[in-house]
Symmetry: C2
Subunit: 210 residues, 2 copies
Amino acid sequence: MGEKTLISRLPERGVTDRQQINEILDEGFVCHAAYVIENRPVVIPTLYVRNGDQLLLHGSNSSGLVKAVRDGSPLSVGVTHIDGLVVARSGFHSSANYRSVVVHGQGRILTGEEHEKALDVIVDILIPGRLSDIRRPTEAEIKQTSVIGLPLDEVSAKVRSGGPNDDPDDLKSDAWAGVIPLSVVAGDPEPSDDLRDGIPTPDYLQPNRG
Amino acid sequence: MGEKTLISRLPERGVTDRQQINEILDEGFVCHAAYVIENRPVVIPTLYVRNGDQLLLHGSNSSGLVKAVRDGSPLSVGVTHIDGLVVARSGFHSSANYRSVVVHGQGRILTGEEHEKALDVIVDILIPGRLSDIRRPTEAEIKQTSVIGLPLDEVSAKVRSGGPNDDPDDLKSDAWAGVIPLSVVAGDPEPSDDLRDGIPTPDYLQPNRG
């Protein structure tokens, strides 16, 4: 696998610690899931959560991703956080700071009680506290929404952090060097136009609640 | 392809306008590129820029991605910006606001002058103004860095924006509904520890320069 080769080639960027892998996964909620159709790759962004030792991918029943899993395609799922642009004194050493996890494996479409429970788990992990405020899903909604379980067995991660690693000869350069930090910021909750009067923003949606 | 099916199923989220597709691509610089090895998908994050009618993907010579393209694997490349978490009055209608582009096609490894020029183009598009401040790449660096050209011929895009689309019956709910906006923010440039004294941050790296 390309990801594994890369790790063995640049061992300092390989992360084997499971806790760090979980932290990377838990920070995001949109992954890029790749599957194979007729020997061609297809990648799509989709919602996910990590639930213990598996990813739960959220998909419409009729999506290509769900069909592909049903047809037996293995999956490759990537989650990446971009932490900065690394501005080195050469193009070669310019880079990005990032934390990324790639999971390979055979997904399975959850069914029955496991499926219904997973729909709750997704809401509960994405927005802790939300579940008790909203109505139960209908039978039709449950049928329309597939959940793919993907075990966290074959997982690799890469992390780059810190400043540029310039060639010693380049340190005398007149060029500025450093990092432009990048981060994802949540703004103030924006109430829906059709929100009834007098409904306050719940605590679990306040910025910096974590 | 899953992406296309999804577009025809939810036509309001399909974007065919080329300018909007270009804007989505131009806002990012890390994509998720998927390829196929032995009928299994592999997805990895990698740097890219859009240069006219093609994507330029940046990769180490020995990366799995570059090897796969050399071996003839088609590619599927996804770029996604997450603009918000859509908090609806039901789990079913909860969603994400996002803008995403997926490009399918056969990449080619650039060679010779086209390859060397592409390395400059990548720097120039990622950080306009930077190229004249840094030294030229060495022969060894050029050899180690591959550039994959992927034509923007088979491109699809999906965009979701705005508040939740709740069922009419749910509007009487006591639950808050709306959007948590999310955006990527650049912080102040952080000089490298080994930056020589007296080198100011160049204008082209100042926040809000655009």
